[in-house]
């Protein structure tokens, strides 16, 4: 059974009809890349899954439960971690407090320290600093780490490589590859090279519709599809 199923999802943001029927499945384990051009509706798809932009039609099923009408915090509490596009690190809070915000139960952080500091050794050094004093790359690491604190079954990661220096992209990719061994990841990524190296399967969104899905290995060799939907 798939961990996450979207079936014929339509979403409006304000008066704008953004998603016109998105259907795909995310199997448990591994990384699924959500591909598509700018403005195709990838971020809105993530927001719909979390109930931040609720679906007007269609259904979202997480772990066998229909979450289409549920409230955001209830959906997240079912075990979905979210790393938004612009990181959304709380600058009023210290690095440690930012991580604590990811806790669902007291002491979650202590249980995950080894995992988190294993993936992002830099964070250990920064733990007492305020969120404002972090660089872009450090904020990105913190945002991913925060989604790992609770026992999430699915991570929604939006554009992790955006605005990062090449050396940091490498580090981030390595971390995502390692954490995907224990958690399922739905990854939105503009950078096709990054996505193709990380993900096993892909879904392509074009003008608010899911138009293609399959194994990443097939897509990499399919120059026509790449050109048509991604402009690569």
């Amino acid at each position: 059974m798939s961990l996450l199923v979207l079936d014929g999802v339509h979403t409006f943001i304000g008066r704008f009809h953004i998603l016109h029927g998105v259907s795909f499945e995310v199997p448990a384990g591994g990384i699924v890349a959500l591909l598509g051009r700018n403005g195709a509706g990838k971020t809105t798809t993530l927001k719909t899954i979390l109930g931040l932009a609720p679906a007007h039609a269609g259904t979202v099923t997480f772990n066998g439960r229909d979450t289409t009408r549920d409230r955001t915090f209830d959906i997240a509490a079912l075990g979905i971690g979210f790393v938004p596009e612009h990181r959304a690190v709380f600058s009023n809070l210290s690095v440690e407090e930012n991580l604590r915000m990811g806790e669902r139960r007291k002491g979650d952080l202590e249980g995950k320290e080894e995992l988190i500091f294993g993936l992002f050794p830099d964070l250990k050094r920064l733990i007492g600093l305020p969120g404002t004093s972090l660089s872009g790359g450090q904020q990105q690491m913190l945002a991913v780490a925060r989604a790992l604190v609770a026992d999430n079954r699915l991570l929604l990661i939006d554009e992790p490589s955006e605005g990062l220096a090449p050396v940091l992209i490498e580090q981030m990719m390595e971390a995502i590859a390692r954490l995907s061994k224990t958690t399922t990841v739905l990854l939105v990524e503009q950078n096709f090279l990054v996505a193709s190296r990380l993900a096993q399967t892909y879904v392509i969104i074009e003008e608010g519709r899911s138009v293609d899905a399959g194994a990443m290995a097939d897509l990499a060799g399919d120059a026509i599809t790449l050109k048509r939907y991604l402009g690569v």
């Binding site: 997240a76 938004p84 709380f90 009023n92 809070l93 407090e97 604590r100 915000m101 007291k106």
Partner: protein, 534 residues
């Protein structure tokens, strides 16, 4: 860290302490110069005041500042987290004073009113049941809303009317001997006239029935008008337990209220005052939560509507207070611990308080223990407690995160709406606490809320609307400014080459506060401690 070292970090040598202080001053040049100018002004003003009045002037300033802070802090917390300007905040301050006066002066009336309120609350505990029953009404397009609101308003009217017919003992604003004004005098001399239920009262059983039916009508109305579909519709054991518990509490209260009331009236007024403080704060918090859930929550996306509705709530509260407590302003007797006079008073030093004096001589100044001691102490206590709450607790952390990005907090699995309600309750509770503390010092009037809220908003503008410490700093500044001007009005300012000393009149106080605000905002557009464009 295992594996080869990837980056060599060259750590800059740590700057010396003086260097860091110098850097901070340079980075905050505007703020530093404003603070220096304020300090200079304060010293100049103090030079015009007799040295034996320095201490009392400062303490009186702190006292006013503490009351303003209690209003401003709650207002700031609510605005900071939810971007809601709660214009009813001042009226919650006022209501705190009136509720406190009632608990302190007429505990029997308070107990009597509590009974129908508990009964009225019972149907609301069963909301899931009404939601299920009212589901067909909610599905009707336009007619459903009319039915829902009709039910709610009928219930509200029934509840209010039956309250006035409930067999309770209450003052009589028409009968001079039984007015609230007189009761303050009576309790001060220790002779409180016993009250009997008026002949307007319905029999208990009938009144009970009407209140229950009104409560059900209101609850059903709310259940059918405010339904997003995701609220629980199954009646859990705790819902039934809550409803039964409320009814049981009302029944128990009905039985024990006579002896309980007798016991409370035997207590020292100091204990009764403590009870008044606690009850007022709780009532303020509960009312705040109710306002948030019922009126503000559906309107978060429409800031102008929230502004209007809180303004309206304020007017409704003023009218309600006038209907219940009558129009004329009255005072609240000071609790025994703060009203001692006689042999050896005013007492020397702090010890004078423990020998039962209400005024003390400290550093050559005459101080009133309640105004300049207790209120200031409570202000500091709230400041410290609220700061600790914000800095050290999980909910404080969530509030700080929510101020910045409520959507992300929600995406982390935290119910931000619940945090909103809690903060609304906290802020309203602080306002009500301020009101009950202010009552023995400045008396009660229906206009006190608007006055204090206005002062608090000026204080917040000075301190920075986005900053909690800014609320404290602004309130302190306003308090000091006010007292310094009043004191200078007594002594007069000697202007060179002018014969007659200039005596600012107390009416200059609000103008001076506004002028100070304007000057500070010209230099620091987001206030002393605010962040943003400043």
């Amino acid at each position: 860290m295992t594996g080869p070292k990837q980056f060599d970090r060259i750590e800059a040598p740590a700057p010396s302490r003086y260097r860091r202080i110098a850097d901070t001053i340079r980075a905050n040049r505007a703020r530093t110069s404003v603070l220096a100018a304020l300090l200079f002004l304060f010293v100049v003003a103090m030079a015009g005041i007799e040295p034996d009045q320095w201490f009392s002037t400062i303490m009186q300033g702190l006292s006013v500042g503490a009351l303003v802070f209690l209003v401003a802090s709650g207002f700031q917390l609510i605005f900071g987290l939810m971007d809601v300007l709660n214009l009813a905040h001042g009226e919650l301050f006022m209501l705190g004073a009136y509720v406190g006066w009632t608990v302190y002066t007429r505990f029997d009336t308070f107990l009597d009113i509590l009974i129908p309120l508990l009964i009225l609350g019972a149907p609301f505990a069963l909301l899931p049941l009404w939601r299920r029953l009212a589901a067909p009404v909610g599905r009707l397009a336009r007619g459903g809303r009319v039915i829902a609101w009709g039910l709610f308003i009928t219930g509200l009217g029934g509840a209010v009317y039956s309250m006035s017919k409930f067999p309770l003992v209450i003052w009589d604003t028409e009968n001079f001997a039984l007015t609230p004004v007189n009761m303050t005098v009576q309790i001060d001399i220790g002779l409180l006239v016993p009250l009997t239920p008026g002949d307007y009262a319905w029999p208990m059983a009938f009144a009970f029935l009407v209140v229950v039916l009104s409560g059900i009508a209101m609850a059903v109305g709310i259940a059918s008008v405010r339904s997003t579909g995701s609220e629980p519709t199954r009646l859990g054991r705790r819902h039934v337990a809550a409803a039964v518990g409320l009814l049981a509490a009302a029944a128990v209260l009905q039985v024990v209220k006579q002896p309980f009331n007798g016991w409370v009236f035997e207590l020292s007024t100091t204990w009764r005052f403590l009870m008044a403080v606690i009850v007022s704060t709780v009532v303020g918090a509960a009312l705040g939560a109710l306002i948030e859930v019922a009126l503000i929550r559906p309107l978060y996306d429409r800031p102008i509507y929230t502004l209007m509705i809180t303004l309206g709530v304020g007017f409704v509260l003023i009218e309600a207070v006038q209907a219940v407590w009558g129009r004329p302003e009255f005072t609240m007797a000071r609790p025994a611990a703060f009203s001692g006079t006689g042999e050896g008073c005013p007492g020397e030093g702090i010890g004078g308080f423990f020998s039962g004096c209400s005024t003390l001589m400290l550093f050559g100044s005459r101080l009133r223990v309640y105004n300049e001691g207790f209120i200031v102490l409570m202000g500091i206590l709230v400041l410290v407690a609220a700061s600790m709450l914000l800095k050290r607790t999980r909910i404080g952390m969530t509030i700080r995160a929510g101020v910045e990005d409520p959507v992300m907090v929600e995406a982390l699995g935290i119910n931000v709406r619940r945090v909103f309600t809690q903060v609304f309750a906290l802020g309203s509770g602080l306002a009500a606490l301020g009101g009950v503390l202010a009552a023995p010092s400045i008396g009660l009037s229906t206009s006190m809320g608007a006055l204090f809220l206005l002062t608090a908003i000026v204080a917040l503008a000075i301190g920075g609307l986005t900053s909690f410490p800014g609320a404290a700093a602004g309130a302190l500044l306003i308090g000091l400014l006010q007292q310094v001007i009043i004191r200078l009005g007594q002594t007069g300012i000697h202007i060179p080459f002018v014969e007659e000393p200039f005596k600012p009149s107390p009416t200059l106080v609000p103008a001076a506060a506004i002028i100070l605000m304007v000057i500070i905002l010209l230099v620091l557009p987001s206030g002393l401690f605010g962040r943003g464009e400043g």
